[in-house]
């Protein structure tokens, strides 16, 4: 868990979705972002704690931070 990021350009609600749906939706959402844009993805599946950072690494996106509030993980990804 690290510090929150600047206001995201796009938010994606993946709460209640099981892996690999959050990664699948994140992949689609990133295509709509301009380079440098920030996407915030909200997830509840604990598997996303491994899958979303791994996806970011593979795709060359920067994981700016992860926050957790009442079981919801928020990932900020910069394209």
């Amino acid at each position: 868990v690290s510090s929150p990021s600047p206001t995201p350009d796009l938010e994606l609600d993946c709460t209640g979705l099981l892996c690999p749906l959050p990664v699948y939706r994140t992949r689609q959402a990133m295509r709509r972002l301009a380079p440098g844009g920030v996407l915030r993805v909200a997830c509840t599946d604990p598997g996303s704690l491994a899958d979303v950072p791994a996806f970011a690494r593979e795709q060359g996106y920067t994981l700016l931070g992860v926050t957790e509030r009442s079981g919801v993980f928020a990932f900020d990804l910069r394209k």
Binding site: G16, L17, L18, C19, P20, L21, V23, Y24, A54
Partner: protein
Amino acid sequence: MSHSTTTPTVAEDALTADAARRRYDDVRALIADVHNPTPLVRLNRVTPGTPAFLKLEWFNPFGSIKDRTARYLLDGMRARGELTGRELVEATSGNTGIALAALAALEGRALTVTIPSGVPAEKLVLLRMLGAQVLPTPDDLCPVDHPRDGAIALARAIADSPAHRGRYAMPNQYANPDNVRAHYETTGPEIWEQTEGRVRAFVAGFGTCGTITGVGRFLKERDATIRIVAVEPQPGHRLPGMKSFAEASPPAILDRSVIDEVIRVDDDPAYAMTRRLYREEGLIVGPSTGAIVEAIARLDTRESGPVVGISPDGGQKYASFFAAHFPEDAEATP
């Protein structure tokens, strides 16, 4: 058989269905079964020395052996009350999706299909024409042991996600015993009847394994000496519908106890045999048929009776694959 949940309005015309005249009230009546088997056609040139027949599954109304599977999957789910008020989601390389999409369209039911990489564009277009929502799944979606299983994992997640509770039902052809039952109750008995019990070997591909398990089990029960031969493609193959267990996990419904032998056929000999089937037998088949016939040609056999191979589908959906594999056949006219 319970089919439609909707009651269409039909004009009165006194022409009731009459199978003897091949007149039907509904395209679903054309799905093969023991009373309406798909044809068995002799191979006359490409398997010299081996008496062999191909069972042409593309005579099914939606174009493939998966018509049988799709009907059994949906009928089973309906009987268990799993379809009421539900949409469908399924992972498929295309043919199951096409059959499910046609059946779902007739029922007014929505269908989402997750598709692995390496499925020809023709199939994606057909699925969309039938009204299915198509989700192409990248191979690297899941950092798991079997990268080619991403489409299955995605369909599973859509079906099971708490946010979707109650919305989706997943037939799951890889684990649903009704997939095996379709072939145990129809394909297997058809082959037995059509060969008058003389079939000596049966050859089908590894895919969902419904065919090899269901037909294999039926034939072994009739005569345990009938050889059951499975065909496995190479890793990274271009044979839609087939599975290499070097890169995909074996389906739960696979029963290896009915299989006597596995023959691996790589893409090049499979495509070469496919083209021979077009040119020497006049059979316009998909590439998995080429793999199966190549395996028949390689059988070390002094069989006292015929070998039966499955031709899962026809060739029309694979024009882009054939053009890529045989560029000399795809040259545009000037």
